[in-house]
C-alpha cells in the first residue's frame, strides 16, 4: 500500500477520539516538508498540531512562500472570508499543501475550497482533510480524494455516505453487538487507495512523541554557510 504523493489528497474521517488527528499529523510528517510549504487550518486549535516543532503560527493574511509548516487559527464564521481569501491565494500560488483539521468548519459550498478539491491535483496542492461527519463536508472532498482513511463512525448516515465511495462498504467492519468486539479494532482504520483500488486495515500510527520527532528532524534548520547556499557543498 502506498501513501499519498505530493499532489494527491486524502480524506480522513472518524468520530471524535477515534485517532484521526494522530493519523493525519502522521501523514503530514511523512511529507517532504523541506520541499514546499504546508498550511494547516486549525480551527479548533488541536494541541497535537500546535505542538509540531518548527511550525510557524501566522496570520490569515500571510501566504507562505518558503517550505515549512504554517499553522493558522481562524475563528469559526468570523474569519470565513479570510480563510476563503487564503485558499484562493494558495490556489493561485500552487505547490502548497493544505491540511484542514475540521472539514465541516469551512462552508461546503466555499468556491475556493472546492476549487482546491477539484483542481488541486494538477496544481500540486495536496490536501489532508479531516472530518467527524462526512455528510457535512463538501461532496468534492469525498469524490476527489485519492485515498480514504476511515476510523470508527457512529452515525449510520455517515457510514452509508462513505460506503458509496469504498468498494464493499465499511458497514461490516463497524458493526458489533453491545459487549462484543467490533471487526475493526480500536484506533485502526480502513485505508483505501482509489487509484490502485486496494484496501487494507491500517494499524494505529506511532505515538505522539515519535510523530513529533519526525517533524523535529525534518523542520530543524541546519546552519549553512555561503557555500551551501550557493550549492557548492
Amino acid at each position: 500500500m502506498y501513501l499519498p504523493n505530493e499532489s494527491q489528497s486524502i480524506l480522513i474521517i472518524g468520530k471524535n477520539g477515534s485517532g484521526k488527528s494522530y493519523a493525519a499529523v502522521w501523514h503530514l510528517a511523512q511529507k517532504p516538508l523541506g520541499e514546499f510549504p504546508w498550511v494547516i487550518i486549525n480551527h479548533k486549535r488541536e494541541k497535537l498540531i500546535d505542538s509540531i516543532p518548527g511550525a510557524q503560527f501566522v496570520d490569515l493574511d500571510f501566504t507562505p512562500k518558503k517550505p515549512g509548516v504554517y499553522v493558522y487559527h481562524p475563528l469559526p464564521d468570523f474569519d470565513d472570508d479570510a480563510v476563503t481569501a487564503l485558499l484562493w491565494r494558495i490556489y493561485q500560488r500552487e505547490n502548497i499543501g493544505v491540511y484542514i483539521d475540521e472539514g465541516y468548519m469551512i462552508n461546503p459550498r466555499d468556491p475556493a475550497l472546492n476549487a482546491l478539491y477539484t483542481q488541486g491535483r494538477s496544481k500540486h496542492i495536496p490536501l489532508i482533510t479531516l472530518s467527524q461527519r462526512p455528510s457535512r463536508i463538501s461532496r468534492f472532498a469525498i469524490s476527489e480524494a485519492a485515498f480514504y482513511q476511515v476510523f470508527y463512525l457512529t452515525d449510520k448516515n455517515d457510514r452509508a455516505r462513505i460506503s458509496e465511495f469504498i468498494p464493499g462498504g465499511i458497514e461490516e467492519y463497524m458493526k458489533g453487538k453491545p459487549g462484543e468486539a467490533r471487526l475493526m479494532p480500536d484506533f485502526h482504520s480502513i485505508y483505501y487507495d482509489v487509484g490502485r483500488n486496494e484496501i487494507a486495515m491500517m494499524r494505529p500510527v506511532p505515538q505522539e512523541a515519535d510523530i513529533l520527532d519526525i517533524f523535529e528532524k525534518k523542520l530543524k534548520k541546519p546552519k549553512r554557510g555561503v557555500l551551501h547556499r550557493l550549492g557548492f557543498l
Binding site: 477520539g17 479494532p185 480500536d186 494505529p204 505522539e208
Partner: protein, 210 residues
C-alpha cells in the same frame, strides 16, 4: 475508557481517552491475531520502512505519467542526453564584458581575452562536477546586460557629469567624452606653399595708407 491497554506497539497512550465504547483488550487481540483483520490485509505505520507491512512512501513529486509528460520508459528509446556543459565561449564573453565595465571605474579590474578564456574554462571544469547546469539563455542575457552596461554605462555617466558641470557654470572638460574616438582619417598632406608666392601675396595686400 481510561486505562486502555492497547498492546499495539505504536499506539499512543494519549489516545486512550476514548469514548467510543470499544473494548480495547478484545480489539487489540484481534489486531494482533495475524496479518489480516476482517479479511483485509493490515498495514503497520510503525513498521520500519521497507518491511512488508509498512506503507510505502512515494518520494518526491508526482511522476511524469501523472503530470502527462513523457515517461521514462518512453524516453528509453532515445538515449538520455548528457547535461550540456557550460558554454565556455559564452561565459568568456560575459566575463570579459563584465570586467570591461568594471574597468571603467576600477582600471585594475580589466581582463584581456586570454585571462577571460582561462577563467571561463576553469569555471566550466568546476561546474562539470555539479548537476546544475547554467542555462545558455541566462548566459546570453547576462552577456547582453554586460555589453549594454559597458556601452551605455560610461555614456550615461559622462552625460550626467556634463549636465552637472553645465549647471555649475563650468565648461565641460575637453577630454570628458568616454566614447571611444575613431582615429581621424589620414588626410592628404597639405601642399607645401612656395615661399616666394607667400611673400608676393603679402606684398600685394593693400595697406590702409595706400
Amino acid at each position: 475508557m481510561a486505562g486502555n491497554e492497547n498492546s499495539e506497539p505504536g499506539s499512543s497512550e494519549s489516545r486512550n481517552q476514548d469514548d467510543s465504547g470499544i473494548n480495547p483488550s478484545e480489539s487489540s487481540d484481534a489486531a494482533n491475531a495475524g496479518g489480516e483483520i476482517g479479511g483485509l490485509p493490515t498495514i503497520d505505520p510503525t513498521a520500519p520502512a521497507g518491511s512488508p507491512s509498512a506503507p510505502k512512501r512515494r518520494v518526491g513529486r508526482p511522476t511524469n505519467a501523472e503530470k502527462g509528460l513523457p515517461t521514462k520508459s518512453a524516453s528509453k528509446s532515445t538515449p538520455r542526453q548528457k547535461a550540456a556543459p557550460v558554454a565556455v565561449n559564452g561565459v568568456e564573453k560575459v566575463l570579459f564584458s563584465l570586467h570591461q565595465m568594471a574597468a571603467t571605474f576600477i582600471p585594475e579590474a580589466e581582463l584581456d581575452r586570454e585571462e577571460s578564456k582561462l577563467l571561463a574554462e576553469s569555471l566550466a571544469d568546476v561546474s562539470s562536477f555539479y548537476s546544475q547546469v547554467v542555462d545558455p539563455k541566462i548566459v546570453a542575457w547576462v552577456g547582453l546586460l554586460g555589453v549594454a552596461g559597458k556601452i551605455y554605462g560610461p555614456r550615461i555617466g559622462a552625460f550626467a557629469l556634463r549636465m552637472k558641470m553645465e549647471k555649475a557654470g563650468r565648461p565641460p572638460r575637453a577630454n570628458l567624452s568616454v566614447v571611444p574616438q575613431k582615429p581621424a582619417a589620414q588626410s592628404a598632406p597639405a601642399p607645401v606653399a612656395n615661399p616666394a608666392e607667400v611673400v608676393a601675396t603679402m606684398i600685394s595686400v593693400p595697406t590702409p595708407e595706400g
